[in-house]
Symmetry: C2
Subunit: 349 residues, 2 copies
């Protein structure tokens, strides 16, 4: 073996490179046969079985990862007296969901240590960043959800570390969630999942109307003819859809139609992509697994809580307070008048 | 030995009962000594060491029971559009509390299967019974809490099966609970525990004012001079206190002062019995672990949801509907006018 190897080395070193014929022809023959064998093997491996190689590489890379997708919950949040209560309740619910990553975006100039403490107690891995809404954004939470989407695109590899895939679900801090919306619906979304939302948009329930699993329209409060007439709590999108697009909820989104249809259309989705979960009516009355609840507002001034020995939040202090308080006067009065009219309507003489 | 025993038997049989003196005097002496010895031993065991005997019996009886007390959560609930959402959220929170028994009393003529399904999913042992408020009860939930107290008195042995003791805590279905209110406060109550409640009674927080752990007054919205100026979510009572009294929240309780002070006074408690948990101000700002939140009301008629393929609740149908709708008109208008006035006051020109 040793002699053969040395002969072979001679063959390459002297016979081929220098063209010198000092050694026997058998050495040259051996070298050619070896080269042809190696070339054939490599070619076969690279061209004939590329898929099996890829699969092997993928299997090695994914060894030990969770096969169930990671649920990425995105929550925009802002300062208000009921916020700690709402966030605590939501944290209790999310505590129960395995394989969940929580991204919370603060609509403010600073993150709030007490909110971070709630996130820590939720026992979920989380990201908590501040991103105050810039001027001219038409809706609350729109900018924060956009920031979260961009954060996801920049950090998906780190977030997905132990997971093969992810599903993105927008979770609001005052909504009420049955844990089955995560375990039975969100976790199983392949592209775009959609389901009913209770107490949404002034209706008892909003839901996609489906025939044999194909969505043909929506039971919704406003603009039923939108491509996606759905509440933020009523859909989840596979992370791949988010990563293969740069879509965010932009300023230009139509405020009247809502940010949901704008985002989903910009993500390149169509009504054909919808998978309906918990379709109602087929097997009798269907359960609602998420409700667009609102916690009744309370209004405290900073001065009212200054000397109390407990941790609270008051209403956020707006930068342009004078302008804003004047401009909120008319809507407030309108709201009160609307309430009176509603009270009148509610009375059955 | 055998001979001695037979002699002793003879002594009793012939010498004492029949008075016959056929056998020796030594037999009589033996019998007397034995009797005296037995009598002394029994007397000593029964009178000199009764506590050690009792402890031994107690230890045997309690063998294998949990040493931490069972938390008995009492929730009055009633039909409304937001109820399923509120109960689901509360069930998610209670799911996280170990050693908890949940008693839910329905203010209605029937229990609701969907509510029972929520209780089942909470993974806690529970009792769910109906008990509609009789005429003349001044407050919502008062009668149901009383029913729960009576239920407890009749069933405490069964409920406590695996526990040495219990703590009773009134948990409302729309409040927000940090789990530490259960694990750090309620679980450690010895007689009457009390703590701060956020967003209670129109204030940012209500709390007992304590000096060196002794309550000297209350930071409360109304009637601060009550013996117990505390929200239902702000106290818990040891089960022994409940069991050694027949107190309930009665019709005669002063509606203006609230049912809390009425019940606690009737239970024979005084301000000296209060143990304060999470006392604020001593170590900087203290956290609030429970909030008296309210879910914003929505109002659907039965006819609006009749043909929808989902499970809802609408407002409870009152028996005397005509009278009641007419009588609610004035308060509704008053509420709207109050809101307008508040809006005006909120504006800073």
């Amino acid at each position: 073996m040793h002699t053969y190897k040395r002969r072979w080395l001679y063959a390459i070193k002297y016979d081929l490179l220098r063209g010198e014929h000092r050694k026997s022809k058998s050495a040259l023959r051996s070298a050619v046969i070896t080269a042809v064998f190696l070339l054939t093997t490599c070619t076969l491996m690279l061209y004939a079985f590329p898929s099996s190689l890829c699969q092997m590489e993928k299997k090695l890379r994914d060894y030990g990862k969770f096969s169930e997708p990671l649920i990425i919950a995105i929550t925009p949040s802002y300062r208000r007296p009921t916020r700690f209560a709402d966030m605590t309740r939501l944290a209790n619910t999310l505590h129960l969901i395995p394989h969940l990553y929580w991204i919370v975006i603060e609509d403010g100039n600073n993150t709030v240590p007490y909110v971070e403490a709630i996130l820590r107690r939720s026992t979920k891995p989380y990201t908590y960043i501040k991103s105050p809404t810039p001027d001219g954004y038409p809706g609350k939470g729109w900018f924060q959800r956009s920031v979260a989407l961009q954060y996801l695109r920049n950090n998906s590899a780190r977030l997905l570390e132990n997971y093969l895939s992810g599903i993105v679900y927008f979770v609001d801090d005052d909504n009420a969630y049955d844990i089955r919306v995560f375990t039975d619906y969100v976790r199983n979304v392949k592209k775009l999942g959609m389901w009913a939302v209770g107490l949404a948009g002034g209706l008892p329930v909003e839901f996609p109307i489906a025939v044999n699993g194909i969505v043909i329209g929506y039971h919704a409060w406003k603009a039923k003819n939108r491509t996606f007439a759905v509440d933020m709590a009523g859909f989840a999108v596979h992370l791949d859809v988010i990563l293969s697009s740069t879509a965010i909820i932009g300023k230009q989104c139509n405020q009247r139609l809502g940010p949901e249809t704008c985002l989903l259309e910009d993500l390149g989705l169509t009504m054909e992509d919808i998978e309906v979960f918990g379709e109602g009516g087929e097997k009798g009355q269907q359960e609602i697994l998420v409700w667009h609840t609102k916690t009744s507002d309370v209004n405290f001034q900073e001065s009212q809580v200054a000397n109390l020995p407990y941790v609270f939040e008051t209403k956020a202090v707006h930068r342009k307070q004078n302008t804003e308080t004047k401009s909120t006067y008319i809507p407030l009065l309108q709201k009160s008048l609307k309430r009176i009219l509603e009270s009148w309507r509610a009375v059955q003489f």
